[in-house]
Symmetry: C2
Subunit: 202 residues, 2 copies
DNA sequence: AAGTGTTTTAAACATTTGTTTAAATATTAA
DNA sequence: TTAATATTTAAACAAATGTTTAAAACACTT
């Protein structure tokens, strides 16, 4: 089952791979062209400039990624189940896009990124059902008093960090791809247990 | 109290700042020269090439950073106290070098980094007193059975990730520098409590 | 003061890299 | 088929960037 892609999408797919892996500065147009098996000039023919190509890809990829994250955050599932589900699904999501986290963080070294503002990340987080749910659980006395941002970044830290440090982990733990996958599967159990153990203590 | 630095160290300090902030590809020699208030040619006069300058800085900075981390890992303090201490001191250490984590991870996108091998990171981790201690506590039945790597990367994830995502956190949480500092100070309490809550459950 | 070696400078150089051009080729429409 | 249009190519271009050069400025010794 061969995929016959037209030139424009071939370039876009190639650009995605290369940008994701090497970042904006590290990516050369000739590298994209080679990866897409296409003449260099065609990159500019279809996408005016490197920057424009980058922006369209960056926004599209991140939008898709972030969209999936938000969807889950707003799902109306009981609190504890949701913690488990979030960890499980975020792990899978990043497993499918393992380069996304470092890419996003690398391209957001400076404060005040336009992308996040354009996507209303702040508002989305603050009005997310998960945030509301967390506050309710605290009010009901079911879980310990804690700022939502700490919970969110504890989840993210525990799930995302291993992917960021993946070459290091693989090296220290002598893991191949399968080994790393197992490591992350283990975390799917450890991380929610850790979070709940903390949150439930009064 | 003015510091009168000679040209070589001025260049080196400038290079440290610029490399740390923009990474290898993102850093231009002319930018370093300007930052050091020095003629472009002097950079190559003192350090043969961009790559060589980078390497010397990269190794030196990371060595110092990693050295401090290891020291703490090998300190002979009771287990629970140590967890608290590690979180506390790592937070402070990174607060002093907030760009180091993203820098190290960005420059280690590929597997098999020489730097880590040269510094015997693997061996150091595996033979660290902390690792031994963890196994002993498990054997004594004081804490839950868990692979040391999970504990280490849970600590790192919880401590380091917020720094990696700092521009994002600051934006979402409307924090200035002081706000972020407070956020991290709060984590100094939350993270060890979370870890211990998990580890102590049997 | 002259001589010696070091440091600094402006300029040039060579390479890389993003972009454009103009001609060649393929595709589509009349 | 023919003419118009779109796509592709090799080549050139211009700007950015790492590096080198050769001379000037400086510091130090004798």
């Amino acid at each position: 089952m061969e995929k016959e892609l037209d030139t424009e999408t071939r370039i876009k797919e190639a650009a995605k791979r290369v940008f994701l892996k090497y970042g904006y500065e590290g990516t050369k147009i000739r590298q994209i062209a080679q990866e897409a098996d296409v003449n260099v000039a065609l990159v500019n023919y279809y996408f005016r400039s490197k920057e424009q190509l980058f922006k369209s890809i960056y926004m599209e990829s991140f939008r898709a990624f972030f969209g999936k994250m938000i969807l889950l955050l707003n799902e109306e599932t009981p609190f504890e189940v949701k913690i488990w589900k979030i960890v499980d699904r975020y792990t899978d999501l990043i497993m499918e896009n393992p380069l996304m986290p470092l890419f996003v963080l690398s391209e957001n070294r400076e404060e005040g990124s336009l992308l996040f503002k354009e996507m209303h990340v702040k508002e989305v987080i603050h009005t997310a059902y998960f945030t509301k749910q967390l506050k309710e659980e605290i009010a009901k006395g079911n879980i310990r008093e804690v700022a939502p941002l700490h919970v969110i970044f504890s989840i993210m830290g525990n799930v995302v960090f291993p992917f960021l440090a993946r070459p290091i982990i693989s090296y220290i733990g002598d893991m191949d791809e399968e080994g790393f996958r197992k490591f992350m599967e283990e975390r799917k159990k450890i991380v929610p247990e850790m979070l709940m153990a903390y949150l439930k203590v009064r």
